[in-house]
């Protein structure tokens, strides 16, 4: 219920368009009721052979409703979509605004893509909230009120009968069906997801399936699941069929009961016989508003589940906040780390545990160490994706926390292992780094990153879409684009986070050359587990379990014969020198 109210509050700003669409929905059904009721009245009246003039009102009514229904239906569809699109826009902006401060600190698993696709599905479900959940019951309620009043005018018992059957079809049947199908439904969801997993396994694990001769077995497993799924679907179809049969039955029983109640009224003279056909047909056609209701419960549950998941994300408090007031101007680009300790959660071990080092402006510092030594944590702290608890990091004599997030990141260029390229043109992807950059500036950066010629060779040059049909970038090309971005951004501090990992040695060497160009004149921090190109570093820190275990220049460290030496040997053992 709380989720429901929050959801309503979220989309409430668009109540006007939703109300308009609801009223139009009501008028559509009402016109249908009016058409059948006045038609019946016209025929019943005509049977008494009155002068034609007396029937004029009824004839006009019939024609009016015959036309108005189509018009209302049209308007209703139009404005219902208008309302839906407004809700959609609202939900996306709301969600994005709430998510933005959380990434990536609070959503560690965010990179995996699973979370993102789940979020997309949930947002998609909520976008239909008005159309599938809110509108049908509201329309049905308005119709019920109108037709109830209409029938009550002729006899309260008729109106009560309508109310009874209306509620039975709108509420009792859906609830009953839900209770009946609950077990089967859950089993079906499980079977379906197991089946999907099998399908994904089959396609993605095809190499293993083929290499290990498992095709037959895989097919058998899928077949068994598919059969089970088919049985469950059949059972559920039985229940759904029962539901639609019951709805039809109740609608006709409503008609029958109203007939049964009205006949004595006619006999007793309390009701003019000429109205009998009108009342029966009017009541019957009002049930049109009930037909979409059985699905509402299902959509409601889905919407609430989706909303609950999204609220769970948006309710998370961001880990970093901007301090009030303007950011300081850094006096220099010296980076100073003193007594730095950080852990991701109070019950976790320290990820970095008492680090001290200085990176003077213009120098190059490398941080190396095995996986899990705390290297990535440092990157996260420098970029203020997280805030450190103990110790200090300062940039040009100012504490990192004193800078606003956006200002701080303006001073730092980052090239990481996973360069994200947006589904936009090459140009747009580059301009991200400097929106106002001119054409020549762009080309110059690309040239320096040695990617200009490749871009020129693309069918539409700089205006080729990344990921467009057939245009796939290799790892080396992606990294070059990232370097071009960094060149364009032209920040004073450069952060290289495993920038050449995963490239083959030839490409690695080439990309490394471009990176050296990029480092020129910049304060550079290199994070890597590959010990390549480190002889050019002014200092190397060897990190293990969050602590600095060795420090010095490449040659010194090799001579020391410690962890660095060991890693170096492991990496190069089989490579002849």
């Amino acid at each position: 219920m709380k989720t429901f109210i929050r959801l309503i509050v979220l989309i409430a700003p668009h109540w006007k368009s939703m109300l308009l669409a609801t009223v139009l929905g009501f008028l559509t059904v009402a016109s249908g009721v009016g058409l059948m009721a006045t038609s019946a009245f016209l025929i019943a009246g005509a049977a008494l052979h009155p002068p034609v003039l007396e029937l004029m009102k009824a004839i006009v009514g019939v024609r009016f409703f015959g036309i108005s229904r189509a018009i209302f239906r049209y308007l209703e569809r139009y404005f219902a979509h208008d309302a839906t699109f407004r809700v959609l826009s609202r939900i996306r902006v709301w969600f994005y605004t709430a998510l933005e401060p959380l990434v990536p600190a609070r959503l560690m698993e965010y990179r995996s893509g699973e979370l993102v696709s789940r979020i997309m599905a949930d947002v998609g479900t909520l976008e239909q909230f008005y159309l599938q959940v809110l509108a049908p019951p509201l329309v049905a309620l308005l119709v019920l009120l109108g037709v109830f009043a209409f029938l009550a005018w002729f006899g309260l018992s008729l109106a009560l009968a309508l109310l009874f059957f209306f509620l039975a079809t709108a509420v009792a049947v859906p609830l009953g069906v839900r209770a009946l199908s609950r077990g089967t439904g859950r089993q079906m969801v499980e079977t379906r997801s197991a089946l999907n997993t099998q399908m994904v396994d089959t396609v993605q694990g095809m190499t293993e399936i083929a290499a290990f001769n498992r095709a037959g077995q895989q097919q058998e497993q899928v077949k068994a699941l598919s059969s089970k799924f088919m049985d469950l679907q059949g059972r559920l179809a039985g229940i759904r069929g029962l539901s639609s049969a019951l709805v039809g039955l109740l609608i006709n029983l409503a008609m029958w009961s109203i007939l049964l109640l009205a006949i004595p009224l006619v006999n007793q003279g309390k009701l003019d016989g000429v109205y009998l056909a009108m009342l029966v047909l009017g009541a019957l056609s009002s049930f049109e508003a009930v037909l979409p209701l059985p699905m509402v419960f299902q959509h409601l549950e889905e919407s609430l589940a989706a909303a609950r998941r999204l609220f769970a994300v948006t309710d998370i408090a961001p880990v970093v906040r901007d301090l009030p007031g303007p950011s300081p101007e850094p006096l220099s680009y010296d980076l100073r780390v003193r007594g730095l300790r950080f852990r991701y959660a109070p019950d976790e071990p320290w990820a970095v545990d008492g680090l001290n080092f200085v990176l003077p402006e213009g120098d190059r510092l490398a941080i190396v160490g095995p996986s899990g030594a705390g290297k990535s944590t440092l990157v996260n702290l420098f970029l203020r994706f997280w805030d450190y608890e103990e110790g200090s990091i300062s940039l040009g004599e100012h504490e990192l926390k004193a800078f606003s997030l956006e200002d701080l990141r303006r001073y730092i260029s980052v090239v990481t292992q996973h360069t994200y390229l947006f589904n936009a043109t090459v140009r747009e992807n580059l301009l991200l780094a400097k929106p106002g950059a001119g054409e020549e500036e762009l080309r110059q950066a690309a040239r320096e990153a040695k990617i200009h010629e490749f871009i020129q060779s693309l069918p539409r040059g700089y205006d080729t879409y990344v990921g467009e049909r057939g245009f796939k970038l290799s790892g080396g090309q992606r990294q070059r684009l990232a370097i071009a971005r960094a060149l364009l951004k032209n920040a004073s501090v450069l952060l290289l986070d495993e920038a050449t990992a995963g490239l083959d040695p030839v490409t690695e060497l080439e990309v490394m050359e471009s990176i050296h160009r990029l480092m020129e004149g910049r304060t550079t921090l290199v994070i890597t587990h590959r010990l390549t190109g480190l002889d050019r570093m002014d200092e190397i820190l060897v990190l293990e379990r969050g602590r600095i275990v060795e420090r010095g220049r490449h040659q010194e460290l090799l001579e020391q014969g410690g962890l660095y030496r060991k890693m170096w040997e492991l990496q190069n053992e089989l490579t002849p020198v």
Binding site: S39, A44, A46, A47, H49, A58, G66, R69, A70, I71, Y78, F85, L88, R92, Y96, E100, R111, S117, M120, T197, T202, V203, G205, I209, A211, N213, A215, Q217, Q218, Q219, S227, Q233, G234, A237, G238, G241, L242, A245, L249, N252, N267, G273, R409, V414, F422, P435, R485, A501, G502, D504, P505, V506, M512, G533, L570, Q571, N572, L574, T575, P576
Partner: protein, 576 residues
């Protein structure tokens, strides 16, 4: 919109579909009967002044018809679903079998998502096509005809009104409907593009943050969705005209029947009971046509899903020139030869191998090296019979490879790929892929040899820990050692190591290399690598460049030649 291929599928469950249509028709006839009883009761009460007891003889049958009608509706739904379920089940099996036959080269890479989508969503999209659209297509013709059969004997004018408006509905539906559908289809594409942008922004949020562009994106998203709303509504304004026209035809004809019948009733040209009966029939007449309209979309979805499904099913399987099967002798030693092998992707557009020849003898370690894209993995895939050479041939002990049954051949090979895939299941089950039915001790022994036993025991549930979808995530080094364990368990004489240590950090790489070293003892191995520290000890190194063999020899010899290999080594060493 009768997809021929879907109709062929429907043939298998012809009787169910016919029954479903028959039940639908029965329901329609009962509706007519219901209308006639209702008309009779109302006539007797309101015009003839009969009391309740006087009309019971019609009220009871009316109740009976109502109940019977509900029963038929139920049965109709059940039967329709049965038909659809069988078609879906059969098609899913066929699609899967075809995919398995097409193999990993077809199913790999970019296509994965699309294939999973066709197998899962695609098949389910057929449900509405067979349960709703197809039966309704028949009923939209049959039920109105049945209604007309009752209307014409009673009143020709009403009959003519219905008869002339009826064809207009399907006509408009297909004329406007198609056009409107393509309009709104285009809009939905815009919507999905917009969603793609939203997804893109969410996925690249960290990057946006680094460039200080994340906050302003909220506004961009708002603007894009507003613009989308405006343009879409502009289009929908037109597209919804089809709804207007269809609704208008149905209501205005009902109104027309009511007015003409009413007017003739005034002059006593027609009795009331008949007039009322006609009025009741008019909506029943249009109902099936309108239902068809509302299932139109389901029909379209079904056809487009069918397009995707049959595109896969109609992909020809690689031809195998089976000029008589040959079997390998039980002799443990064998000799593999690549003879001038060519292979190209995309129907020859992208050559991968351009005539390579080499031999692999029992007990030998041969390394294939070369820069990315040189054709190393293609050679391995050909050897695994994932595909067949375009030209040239591969022989085993002199027998052409394509004459050895695929399954038999693959029993002799264990593969350790760069990115091993783990199926939904436990660690033990995943290792057991190497030899189904192996006892847990054997699994553990294999894991021990692969250097995986210890970390497996450290997992939350040891060998019973779930991996794969929804299970725990393994690190690269762990995954690789599990793949080695699979290979140990399989105990095949020929090993293919396809970039088995790529992307690992030095410590993990060391562990995996040690495991591989043990694995290669006493086995024949084809090692594929772009990182060169794995191939140093190979008996022979074959250097591929642009699909051709550039050099062959031992490490030392190649270094001395100062050729491609030397360049590669220089790059690797120089970087190090």
């Amino acid at each position: 919109m009768m997809d021929k291929r879907l109709m062929r599928e429907a043939g298998a469950v012809r009787s169910f579909l016919a029954l479903s249509v028959g039940l639908g028709l029965g329901t329609g006839l009962l509706a007519i009967l219901q209308a006639s009883y209702l008309a009779r009761v109302v006539n007797r009460v309101s015009l003839e002044g009969q009391s309740l007891s006087g009309v019971w003889p019609w009220l009871y049958p009316l109740l009976g018809v109502i109940i019977f009608r509900a029963g038929l509706t139920w049965m109709g739904e059940v039967v329709a679903h049965r038909a659809a379920a069988q078609i879906k089940h059969a098609l899913r099996q066929r699609l899967l079998a075809h995919l398995l036959a097409l193999g990993p080269v077809y199913a790999g890479g970019e296509r994965t998502g699309e294939l999973v989508n066709a197998l899962v969503e695609g098949i389910e999209a057929l449900d509405a096509y067979f349960t709703r659209y197809l039966p309704q297509l028949a009923l939209a013709a049959l039920v109105p005809l049945a209604v007309l059969g009752f209307v014409f004997p009673l009143d020709t004018i009403s009959g003519l009104i219905l008869l002339f408006t009826a064809p207009l509905i399907p006509l408009f539906m297909f004329l406007i409907g198609r056009w409107a559908e393509s309009l709104s289809q285009r809009q939905w594409e815009t919507l999905s593009r917009m969603s793609a942008h939203f997804l893109d922004v969410l996925q690249g949020l960290t990057t946006l943050k680094i460039f200080g562009r994340s906050k302003s994106q909220a506004e961009v998203i708002g603007q894009i969705s507003s613009r989308f709303r405006e343009t879409t509504l502009g289009v929908l304004r037109v597209a919804f005209l089809s709804a207007l026209v269809l609704e208008f035809l149905a209501t205005i004809s009902t109104a027309l029947v009511a007015v003409t019948v009413g007017l003739r009733l005034v002059y006593a040209h027609i009795p009331f009971e008949q007039a009322f009966f006609l009025l009741l029939l008019a909506p029943e007449f249009y109902l099936p046509l309108r239902l068809l309209g509302s299932h139109f979309h389901a029909g379209l979805m079904g056809v487009s899903a069918a397009g995707r499904i049959f595109a896969i099913l109609e992909t020809p399987l690689p031809e195998r020139k089976l000029q008589g099967e040959c079997h390998l002798s039980h002799d443990p030693s064998f000799q593999i030869a690549f003879e001038d092998v060519h292979y190209a992707f995309e129907d020859g557009a992208r050559p991968a191998l351009q005539g390579i020849s080499f031999e692999l003898h029992s007990g030998e370690r041969v390394a294939l090296v070369g820069p990315s894209g040189a054709g190393k993995s293609t050679a391995a895939h050909l050897l695994l019979q994932f595909m067949a050479p375009d030209r040239g041939r591969i022989t085993v002990n002199g027998i052409p490879l394509d004459r050895i049954p695929v399954e038999e051949w693959r029993r002799h090979i264990a593969l350790v790929p760069q990115k091993p895939y783990f199926f939904y299941g436990t660690v033990a089950e995943n290792i057991r892929l190497g030899r189904p039915g192996a006892a847990l001790e054997e699994v553990a022994a294999a894991a021990e040899q692969a250097g995986a036993h210890q970390f497996i025991l450290d997992l939350p549930q040891g060998y019973d820990t779930q991996v794969g979808e929804g299970g725990i995530r393994l690190s690269g080094g762990q995954a690789q050692r599990l793949a080695v364990a699979r290979a140990f368990l399989k105990n095949a004489p020929l090993l293919i190591l396809d970039e088995a240590t790529a992307g690992l950090d030095p410590v993990n790489e060391r562990l995996v290399l040690e495991a591989l070293e043990r694995l290669m003892q006493g086995r024949t191995a084809l090692i594929i690598a772009h990182r060169l520290n794995t191939v140093h000890r190979a008996d022979r190194i074959i250097v591929l460049e642009r699909g051709r063999v550039a050099e062959t020899g031992r490490h030392k010899e190649l270094i001395e030649q100062q050729g491609v290999y030397h360049r590669l080594i220089a790059a690797f060493g120089g970087a190090g």
